[in-house]
């Protein structure tokens, strides 16, 4: 990779770090592990993105925001965004930083390396207690569940674990 191309890719990645999930303002699409491949050729960028939940209305907004952010990078004239399903997006793709930022937003990060069908272990994002109850597997958005902490008596949400089922 030439030095110029490499620095251009860095600028594009920086721009992607500013694209937030419209429904979780503290978390970027990089934190969520949604970006699969970024290809910078001359002044054009092609980026493939992994959708989180297929019915998520935020996907269109994210697509638009990515295009806008990348086309603002100096030296880039056009960006093509494509949603792909391989590899599958799973909650394991959320970065360590992403997990911390989810907590700041009051959302407990999903268990790492979750095996579908196994029980979850979810800690309260506020006090860290394990003394919690699941109120509803489904929540205000497709990717979240509603829980209650019996220790600090706060309701909170958790990202629903999504594992690759093969």
């Amino acid at each position: 990779m030439s030095e110029l191309k490499s620095s251009m890719t860095d600028s594009v990645m920086d721009a992607l770090g500013d694209v937030k999930d419209p429904e979780i303002a503290s978390v970027s699409i990089l934190d969520l592990g949604m970006v699969h491949e970024v290809d910078v050729t001359d002044d054009k960028v092609r980026i493939s993105v992994l959708p989180t939940f297929s019915g998520c209305p935020a996907l269109h907004i994210i697509e638009r925001d990515i295009k806008k952010a990348i086309e603002n990078v100096e030296g880039i004239t056009s960006a093509e965004v494509k949603f792909v399903f391989t590899p599958s997006w799973t909650t394991d793709r959320i970065t360590a930083e992403g997990r911390e930022r989810l907590k700041e937003f009051g959302i407990s990060p999903p268990p790492a390396n979750h095996v579908m069908g196994e029980p979850w272990e979810i800690d309260c994002p506020y006090c860290g207690s394990t003394y919690v109850t699941m109120e509803n597997i489904f929540g205000p958005t497709a990717c979240r569940s509603i829980l209650y902490c019996k220790s600090c008596k706060n309701p909170f949400e958790a990202m629903k674990p999504v594992a690759d089922m093969g």
Binding site: G55, N136, I137, F138, G139, I146, D164
Partner: protein, 268 residues
């Protein structure tokens, strides 16, 4: 197989299958969305609307595959077809009960639980087969949908088993709902007139194999909750895979597309 390597007959069969998959999810998601604000309790309202939103997303994935095969824009496919072009099973278009969501909805929760549970069981079987589909874009979509549908199946299974083993009234109403759904559920289990081509191209398993899996599962669950298995489900009102539908589909598509149809060239 990819879009480029499909032979004409295979393509025709694939398109038929995709319409079945898309329209099944589309119509049942719509019937689910009509329950918004009317579900038995607030947590169910949250859960059911989330499930309906997921399912609408699944329909959208399939409509996009159709768009890529030259069937036109996904939104237009969803909104501008006439009822005879729909390929969903008839039981999935049926109204939730008397009234409408705007006026005196006297919806039937037992019917909703039974219909959704039976459908979720079959959808799981279907996806489990589709994830090995010879048409790679369909296999990819199925793997995605499966991760979400896992929670739907769990949800409806809990409702089904709880109500079947609850009060006498609950059991009675559920039993009546099973009889009602049974009369037409055979329509979900069939692959329609292009069945042989669909199976020959390895897009999905043989319908008889999947039918057997469904029957075995439901028979076991019914036994577990102390109910008897009524024999093979029927298809009394016709086969939706042939474009045969009821007045309920007309009402559903008219409501669904009311806004879109006012100006299809606008970006909604």
């Amino acid at each position: 197989m990819t879009q480029e390597t499909l032979k004409p007959l295979e393509k025709k069969a694939l398109i038929e299958l995709l319409y079945q998959l898309a329209d099944d999810d589309f119509l049942l998601a719509f019937r689910g969305s009509e329950w918004l604000g009317l579900a038995p309790h607030i947590e169910e309202d949250v859960a059911f609307s989330s499930i309906s939103q997921d399912m609408m997303g699944h329909a959208n994935l399939y409509y996009n595959l159709l768009e890529n095969l030259g069937e036109g824009e996904a939104d237009r496919i969803a909104h501008l077809r006439s009822p005879d072009q729909f390929r969903n099973a008839i039981i999935l278009e049926e109204v939730n009960g008397p009234g409408t969501y705007l006026k005196e909805p006297d919806y039937d929760w037992a019917f909703t639980v039974v219909r959704n549970y039976f459908y979720a069981v079959h959808k799981h079987i279907r996806l489990d087969s589709l994830r090995h589909s010879s048409y790679e874009p369909l296999a990819e979509a199925a793997r995605k949908i499966m991760t979400e549908q896992y929670y739907h199946l769990m949800h409806w299974e809990i409702w089904f088993k709880q109500l079947m083993t609850s009060t006498d009234e609950a059991t009675l109403r559920m039993t009546e709902a099973i009889q009602k759904v049974w009369r037409d559920f055979g329509g979900v289990l069939t692959l329609g007139p292009y069945y042989e081509d669909i199976v020959k191209a390895n897009f999905i398993d043989d319908e008889n194999v999947m039918k057997k899996r469904w029957n075995n599962k439901i028979e076991a669950v019914l036994k577990e909750v102390g109910a008897s298995y009524p024999g093979e489900p029927r298809m009394e009102r016709g086969n939706g895979r042939n474009g045969v539908h009821t007045e309920d589909l007309k009402q559903a598509t008219a409501t669904l597309s009311e806004v879109y149809a006012t100006n299809p060239s606008t970006g909604w």
